[in-house]
């Protein structure tokens, strides 16, 4: 057999770049650039340039069962029987809500759709995934303000913006193709770049204005920017008049947030705040995008409302060259949300408490009723497991031991459960706690659709064979459902049939059929209501999707983070990511070219802070918070504020972080807590 090239979508972030996998006899041998792909025109960030994890000898190849003497290999038949048997037992003994399902932003739409369907047909809404830890506040906040949680336009619109605001995000490291191909392009065409955040990161290197804020003070700064825009009469009066509700309430709320007040709360310069306000208001074609620096706070949802409202003041909605929303972190986190892998939403964002919508889906699935109470969100699943109420969990391709805030409690929860199943491609930190481990095929070893941050749905084809007995998640779920006696509802021969069902269930996906998708390189952007519809790049063109059809201003007040520094823990701890490592490092940590360059965590602190605590560059120290300790190497960095320490979380630093939740979105405040440095010698 000769070498072949298969088009796939990158398995990492939510940009959704296309590339070819080069294979020889069904095995991965390299990649080739897809120069015609509309998102990335060939270019790729470092991560997919080395996908050798696919061939790692450590891939899971057989189902494993935990015994007294460690994990032993078992057959698929036995594994599925055991999983179904135990789940039945537990559901019968303790009720449907004693089990929970973790879906995966790394799996295809079809797989997430099936997993949430399985949970719901077993009678529980306890199905959630890591979107809860990242953009749930965006989903809820943008949903309340505009009617849709997703990004309002496409990356091309970012490139055509005249002002770009990046808030609480570092796309140069976490979204390199959007930074390189779109933001830098806009900049080279004369656009101005404003970056807001605690660290002068590699994105901020390219900014025209950088506003440095203490973690957790974003609302004060956003309100001050609006204060200036309103007081100076710089807002888009026509847009406010015609398309926005609640302007007067806003005027009232932001009137006290002078730039000086915001400066005293945030540590930012009042002058920079004013300058930024003027610069933003200089154009009616602008972008505001954000990431975890906005969402991972107890006020995450309110942060989102504040930023969405700035854009409304300036009329940055519904036209080319404007774009507002969250930059989504995983290649299918948009899709897994769309599919209803969330505790409060059925597919297509139908609220589980919405009787009419729920009935409609129940009918399509051929059942009379579906569970009507909001399920447990991800952090709550582990809390309830720890207190003994959640007895069993099914984890598909997630690694909460590394990704969840205050991860010691996650481990306690996992260990307290009577039965834990983990389905993954490697023995992850989470899988180590499982009773049964099911070996899954990686994305390139199966086919299905992914939805990127732009709402672009793309088909990713099968390029290589899975190792050993590893199987695509889709077929594992189908087998399990059959064993659970639900075969009537899981009668699918493959992903195509599942997508055809999704076409019926989710109106925004109605026209995105498998045949069409496979023949449309670059995919189709939802909403796509029919097969002859070309997709929708820009949302809210005529009206917003709120009940009133108008943008709904909900003014918000500054509220300090749940945990602030004190005498015992004098520093603020925040977290960040690095370009060559992806999330919990399951895949990138097994690709040599990446490991070589990004081998370990480096916590960054200002040289002045280092001086105060007597630590030096490269020194290994112990970071301690009320929740745990973590050994890490220190790197001095002029660009971070004094009194703040930032640690990358890929290698396990979430032992330290705070799991206080945003009451509106249930997202933990991973981005700020109190911390101290303890020297080792």
């Amino acid at each position: 057999m000769s070498e072949s090239l298969t088009p796939v979508v990158c398995p990492y972030c939510g940009v959704g770049c296309g590339l070819f996998i080069k294979s020889l006899n069904g095995k991965y041998v390299g990649i080739e650039y897809n120069y015609n792909h509309p998102v990335n025109k060939g270019s790729l960030c470092p991560k997919p340039n080395d996908l050798s994890f696919l061939n790692s000898p450590h891939r899971l190849k057989k189902p494993l069962k935990k015994t007294e003497s460690g994990f032993v290999e078992i057959g698929w038949r036995e594994a599925i029987k055991e999983v179904a048997g135990r789940f039945k037992e537990i559901v019968n003994g303790y009720g449907s809500n004693s089990v929970a399902f973790l879906a995966s932003a790394k799996c295809f739409n079809e797989e997430n759709y099936l997993l949430q369907k399985l949970a719901r047909l077993l009678g529980t809404n306890n199905v959630d995934h890591c979107a809860r830890l990242c953009h749930a506040p965006t989903l809820v906040g943008m949903g309340r303000a505009t009617g849709v949680g997703a990004l309002t336009a496409t990356f091309n619109d970012i490139a055509n913006s005249e002002v770009i605001v990046i808030w609480g995000a570092n796309p140069a490291e976490t979204y390199p193709i959007v930074m390189g191909r779109y933001i830098m392009k806009a900049k080279n065409n004369g656009a101005k770049l404003i970056v807001v955040g605690p660290t002068k990161n590699k994105t901020a290197w390219h900014s025209d204005i950088f506003i440095q804020v203490r973690p957790g003070t974003d609302i004060a700064v956003a309100n001050a920017i609006m204060n200036v825009i309103i007081n100076e009469g710089l807002y888009d009066k026509e847009f406010i008049e015609r398309r926005v509700d609640g302007f007067d309430k806003l005027v009232q709320t932001v009137s006290k947030y002078t730039p000086e007040l915001a400066a005293s709360i945030s540590g930012a310069s009042a002058f920079a705040i004013k300058q930024a306000a003027y610069l933003m208001a200089s154009s009616r074609k602008g972008t505001i995008v954000w990431s975890m620096g906005i969402t991972q706070h107890i006020v995450g949802q309110r942060n989102v409302l504040a930023l969405a409202t700035i854009a409304a003041l300036l009329g940055w909605y519904g036209k080319p060259g404007t774009c507002v929303g969250g930059l989504r972190g995983q290649n299918n986190v948009q899709g897994s949300c769309d599919m209803g892998a969330l505790a409060e939403f059925l597919p297509g964002y139908v609220k589980v408490v919405d009787d009419v919508g729920r009935k409609r889906i129940a009918e399509l699935w051929g059942v009379t009723e579906l569970p009507r109470n909001v399920g447990l969100t991800l952090p709550c699943i582990f809390r309830e497991a720890e207190s003994g109420r959640v007895k069993a969990a099914y984890v598909m391709g997630e690694n909460p031991v590394i990704s969840e805030a205050n991860s010691t409690h996650v481990i306690n929860g996992l260990d307290r459960m009577e039965f834990l199943v983990v389905q993954d491609i490697f023995m992850t930190e989470t899988a180590e706690h499982a009773d049964i481990i099911l070996p899954a095929a990686a994305w390139a070893e199966k086919e299905g659709s992914f939805t990127n941050s732009e709402r672009r749905v793309q088909w990713s084809f099968k390029a290589v064979e899975p190792p050993g007995e590893a199987r695509p998640d889709l077929y594992i779920i189908i087998d399990l459902a059959k064993e659970l006696g639900l075969e009537k509802y899981f009668n699918y021969s493959g992903p195509d049939e599942v997508l055809l069902e999704i076409n019926k269930v989710i109106p925004a996906y109605a026209g995105i059929t498998p045949t069409r998708l496979k023949n449309t390189p670059g995919g189709i952007i939802w909403p796509c209501p029919s097969t002859d519809h070309e997709g929708t790049r820009i949302l809210h063109v005529e009206k917003f999707r709120t009940p009133s059809g108008k943008f709904n201003i909900i003014p918000v007040e500054h509220q300090p983070p749940a945990e602030m520094p004190d005498d015992e823990y004098p520093l603020i701890l925040t977290t960040h990511r690095v370009v060559g490592v992806f999330h919990t490092n399951t895949m990138t940590g097994r690709s040599n070219a990446l490991v070589k360059r990004w081998p370990e965590a480096e916590a960054i602190i200002n040289p002045a802070t280092a001086h105060t605590y007597g630590v030096s560059d490269n020194e290994v120290v112990k970071l301690v918070t009320r929740r745990g300790e973590y050994l890490v190497k220190i790197r001095l960095h002029q660009g971070i504020q004094e009194g703040v320490i930032s640690v990358p979380w890929h290698w396990g630093a979430n032992k330290l972080t705070n799991d206080a939740l945003d009451p509106d979105a249930s997202t933990p405040e991973t981005k700020v807590c109190a911390c101290k440095i303890v020297k080792l010698r």
């Binding site: 990649i31 060939g42 270019s43 960030c45 470092p46 140069a172 930074m179 390189g180 070219a593």
Partner: protein, 161 residues
Amino acid sequence: MVKILYVDPKNCISCKACEIACEREHDNVNHIDVYIVEDAEVSVPYTCRHCENAPCVTVCPTKALYRTDSGVFVNYLRCIGCRQCIVACPFGIPKFLDMFKVVVKCDLCRHRLAKNLPPACASTCPSGAIVFTEEVEVTKAKRGVEVSKIIGAVKTAKTLT
């Protein structure tokens, strides 16, 4: 017209994709290095300039180093490992590969050019910091941006008079 590897550090977002792409295409040795200088807030992708009048070619006693219309290349079979090129190169580019006792450097991904594919670093670079293009294209693009700025200024001036 011949295409050149045009490197503009101003656009570089410090991602090192070019290093990894190069390494993949060249048996685990990368011929481009990205120097990330935190204090200066600049990153410099650094690779062979493919000089027209290349000092390395001039000093190479065996003609292992040679120049064609497209760039400067090494014929590994001729290289005697005398390292004269390392002495001569003003940019510190040629590397001595201990395993094979020869000198290696950027070869513009010759194997890719033969298939009509651009070099790996330019293909992967997200930011346009590395492009493989004709020199006139670069100057044309730069002029385009400046001309449109001037047009903007002239327009403004006209509205003022």
